[in-house]
């Protein structure tokens, strides 16, 4: 098994520029396909929402596909499609982001759309109202999935103070009562150039991109830098438990531990620890390479190989503030959750007491480095990573990730395991299915 470091597209030079209005611009030339990918990131996510306004960032994201002063709503569709492009957006706890990927000749249109989105959104009252039911449908579609339901409950139980506790989609009552002015006010407060990062990756010329960015964004005035939340989650003093009993067909266990934020020294050791426990996933939540190599991982061996569970998945993502390391388990049909929890906790207690082996650390590092290569397989994925890290921390963190993985030591993993995997730092969630009285199918 060679340890030679392959050339990562993500390690190619990135040009970083800040416009006078505070907009951060990141450009990476990648001349392997005649494409350009543009992402516009805003430093606003569900953690920036107050009670009564939960879900506002995500709803604002939806509204930002509904037309602007210079792009009537019915003309929004088609601008990128005529270049064969795809477009999308997402909102999570720290960020809201929009993307277009298309042939490179669409670059100017992409910049036009994002400049319009930043400064000229319409938010017509009718459109806000019609989107309310779309958002509620999205919420209810999520509620159809017991794993998502459990995730929401566990996250809410894990945090007592920090706004990471509420789901990105928001609480139903807030979604039912939020007004057009709530949405528009949030938009105006956070969608300012000095709260945004624009990323362009692809078959482009850096100087040409900079000229065009200046032309589209240069005249947008800077705004007041939005206030950041100050709450720091106090230490958890004892194990939290939440048990959902609801009609269903399968049982699920979720363990959540308060975890280090991306810039913390424990972050990469925890990533290696997760690789040992459940297989490495890398650090790109946009990539399709999220299905980990895990057959020799400790929790897989203890739960799946021993027929207690059909699936186990660990998750640790880079975040701005300390979030959660979670382990999600699907119990096998007929296996009681007590047995699944006991087996999982035994593994976690063991690694907490004894750390991991040198062989495990080597394997974890090799896995993580392979995943870093796989998850940078397109301009779209590389652009995502540049903008993501710039938004939740800084770009350096991303460029150092290769070295940070190499530098992880056995001691660092042992220390992280010992301090983070304590029972008193844990929230345990159960989804216990009650029988579903199934009415007959009707033809």
């Amino acid at each position: 098994m060679a340890t030679q470091v392959p050339a990562l597209p993500s390690l190619l030079p990135v040009r970083q520029v800040q416009l006078d209005n505070g907009l951060t611009v990141l450009i990476q030339e990648m001349h392997t396909a005649p494409l350009a990918s543009l992402w516009c990131w805003y430093k606003v996510g569900s953690k920036d929402e107050r009670p009564g306004l939960t879900g506002v960032s995500h709803w604002v994201e939806h509204m930002n596909f509904k037309g602007t002063i210079n792009i009537p709503r019915d003309q929004m569709k088609g601008i990128i499609e005529q270049f064969g492009g795809s477009w999308n957006g997402y909102t999570w706890i720290d960020q809201t982001t929009y993307l277009e990927t298309a042939t490179r000749d669409a670059l100017d249109r992409m910049l036009f759309i994002e400049a319009e989105r930043m400064a000229s959104g319409l938010f017509t009252p009718d459109d806000c109202e019609s989107e309310r039911t779309v958002i509620l449908a999205e919420l209810h579609g999520g509620d159809n999935d017991p794993e998502q339901l459990l995730d929401t409950e566990v996250t809410a139980a894990a945090f007592k103070a920090h706004p990471y506790r509420h789901p990105t989609i928001g609480w139903q009552s807030d979604l039912e009562t939020m007004t057009r002015d709530d949405l528009y006010g949030h938009y105006r407060q956070f969608y300012v150039p000095n709260n945004a990062t624009l990323v362009v990756v692809g078959d482009v010329d850096t100087e040409d991109v900079l000229r065009r960015v200046g032309a589209h964004f240069g005249k947008i005035p800077a705004g007041n830098v939005p206030p950041r939340i100050r709450t720091v989650e106090p230490p958890q003093l004892g194990e939290h438990r939440v048990a959902i009993e609801k009609e269903g067909t399968a049982a699920y266990l979720k363990l959540a531990y308060h975890a280090p934020e991306a810039v913390h020294a424990d972050f990469f050791p925890m990533l290696a620890l997760d690789a040992v426990l459940t297989g490495a996933k890398g650090v790109n939540l946009w990539s399709s390479f999220r299905n980990p190599p895990q057959r020799s991982a400790r929790l897989y061996r203890a739960l799946v190989d021993r027929r207690l569970a059909s699936a186990v998945f660990g998750a640790l993502l880079p975040t701005e503030h300390p979030f959660l390391y979670t382990v999600a388990v699907t119990a096998n049909d007929g296996v009681p959750l007590e047995a699944v929890e006991e087996a999982a906790v035994d593994v976690l207690d063991d690694v907490r007491a004894n750390g991991i082996t040198p062989g495990e650390l080597e394997r974890a590092k090799h896995q993580l480095r392979a995943r870093l290569v796989f998850e940078s397989d397109s301009g779209t994925n590389v652009a995502h990573q540049l903008g993501y890290f710039q938004t939740i921390g800084d770009l350096d963190l991303y460029h150092r990730s290769w070295d940070s993985i190499a530098a992880v030591t056995l001691d660092a993993v042992a220390r992280a395991a010992s301090s983070r995997l304590e029972a008193s730092n844990r929230t345990v969630g159960w989804f216990k299915p009650s029988p579903t009285p199934r009415a007959p199918e009707v033809l």
């Binding site: 392959p6 569709k77 499609e81 064969g84 989107e131 399968a250 390479f289 190599p293 049909d333």
Partner: protein, 431 residues
């Protein structure tokens, strides 16, 4: 190195034993994607062992004549590689992406898994539990239930496209090691085997590696599979699957369509793009999501296959909006039936589908999947260059004629899965 300008340039080599090897070198990325497909999809499942192909796909890589399950686990995990297995109606495909330096080892491992699995009994029991659990999870998902039930309505009487790929608990419980061995013996053969390799390895070297791994394989050809014609539904039919514990209902509304080789295939691809894809779900998305705000998703999909594949319209809506959604789908189907698509819509759809090719062929896995499909359906080595011409040539009249062949609200099959009270609400059949 631009794939758009000169097109893909895959090397295709048929081996003496009937296997076909396809290799495409790219230099974008120090990794390689490998896909190995055999004609062992769920359409080949014998009725008493429904789900055997899926079961086999879960246990085939858990031990071979030369490698224990643990050795395979170490080989994969040590290189950061996930071996994925997927089962469609016709093909069972094993695939992985690895670092270029690991290519030879991974190809040899996949060949060993395909050719000489041992199906250890303990592994069979472990995977059986996982499959039963997965089936139970499906039973709790309105989306999965709606689509699977729609396939049953569209392809009745044991048609291979109407059956559940995972099988049903009864058959999965009863499948034995002997069934897996027999299915492997019957279906796994170099005849019809496809090996696709795309990435940072010279094509000649990749092909030589594939010859070493598969060239000396000799096994009898599988019996040919005949897909019975899919009858068009004689009348409109509706099935309600009540799932009263759910928050939202899923609607699946569909028709049997055409084969991949049908002359109308590209016309229907364009029609489907206008009806339920372009932008955020085409005309259906405009009506159901954008204008009426009823759904988070509303779209259509079309799948030409060896037999006549389905055209399926889907929406996820609140229970009180189910009836209005079905009325809206009927309206959109009627409108496109009577008026066809507009010249502007056809131009947009062509421009989009042709323009999206460089994006779809940007990554190794994107190229591998394109080559795999082109080889399976015999579309030719230059299909990436011919596809734009084929789409460009489709006329408005051809789209309209093809639409009339397939869509008809009076023959629609409809499934509603979710918290929906069927007794009090008859199908709001179209006027």
């Amino acid at each position: 190195m631009s794939t758009l300008v000169q097109g893909l340039a895959p090397i295709r080599v048929p081996l003496d034993n009937g296997a076909v090897v396809l290799a495409q070198q790219t230099a974008t990325h120090p990794a390689v994607t490998i896909l190995v497909a055999v004609r062992a999809g769920s359409a080949h499942d014998p009725a008493p062992t429904l789900g055997v192909s899926h079961f086999l796909s879960k246990v085939i890589d858990r031990g071979t004549e030369h490698r224990s399950g643990d050795a395979i686990a170490e080989a994969l995990d040590g290189r950061g590689v996930t071996l994925n297995s997927s089962v469609g109606r016709h093909l069972l495909t094993l695939g992985c992406t690895c670092l270029a330096e690991d290519f030879d080892d991974m190809l040899a491992l996949v060949a060993d898994v395909v050719r000489q699995p041992t199906f250890p009994e303990p592994e069979i029991e472990t995977r059986r539990g996982e499959i039963i659990t997965a089936i139970r999870q499906d039973e709790d998902s309105p989306a999965t239930m709606a689509v699977e039930a729609l396939m049953g309505l569209l392809y009745p009487d044991g048609h291979p496209y109407g059956r559940r790929t995972k099988g049903v608990p009864g058959t999965v419980e009863s499948i034995t090691r002997a069934d897996l061995v027999a299915f492997h013996r019957a279906q796994f053969s170099p005849a019809g085997l496809m090996i696709v390799m795309v990435g940072d390895v010279p094509a000649g070297r990749a092909i030589a590696a594939a010859e070493r791994a598969f060239g000396d394989w000799r096994a009898p050809s599988p019996a040919p599979l005949t897909i019975p014609p899919a009858a068009r539904a004689a009348h409109r039919q509706r099935l309600v699957i009540p799932m009263m514990n759910k928050a939202q209902a899923d609607v699946a509304y569909g028709f049997t369509a055409v084969t991949r080789g049908d002359p109308d295939y590209h016309a229907l691809t364009l029609m489907n793009n206008v009806l339920g894809q372009y932008g955020l779900g085409g005309r259906l998305g405009d009506s159901i999501r954008e204008r009426q705000g009823m759904a988070y998703y509303a779209f259509s999909s079309f799948d030409g296959n060896v037999g006549e594949g389905p055209l399926v319209i889907r929406a996820g809506v609140a229970p009180e909006n189910v009836d209005r959604t079905i009325v809206s789908i009927d309206e959109e189907v009627r409108t496109i039936l009577s008026g066809g698509v507009t010249p502007a819509e056809l131009t947009d759809a062509k421009r989009y589908l042709i323009g999206s090719m460089p994006r779809n062929l940007e990554t190794n896995s994107g190229i591998a999947s394109f080559l795999h499909t082109a080889e399976f359906f015999g579309l030719g080595l230059d299909y990436d260059l011919r596809l734009p011409l084929l789409l460009e040539a489709v006329t408005l009249d051809e789209v309209h004629a093809a639409t009339r062949r397939i869509l008809d609200p009076d023959r629609a099959s409809i499934v509603i899965a979710g918290p929906y009270d069927a007794a009090s609400r008859p199908d709001p059949a179209p006027a």
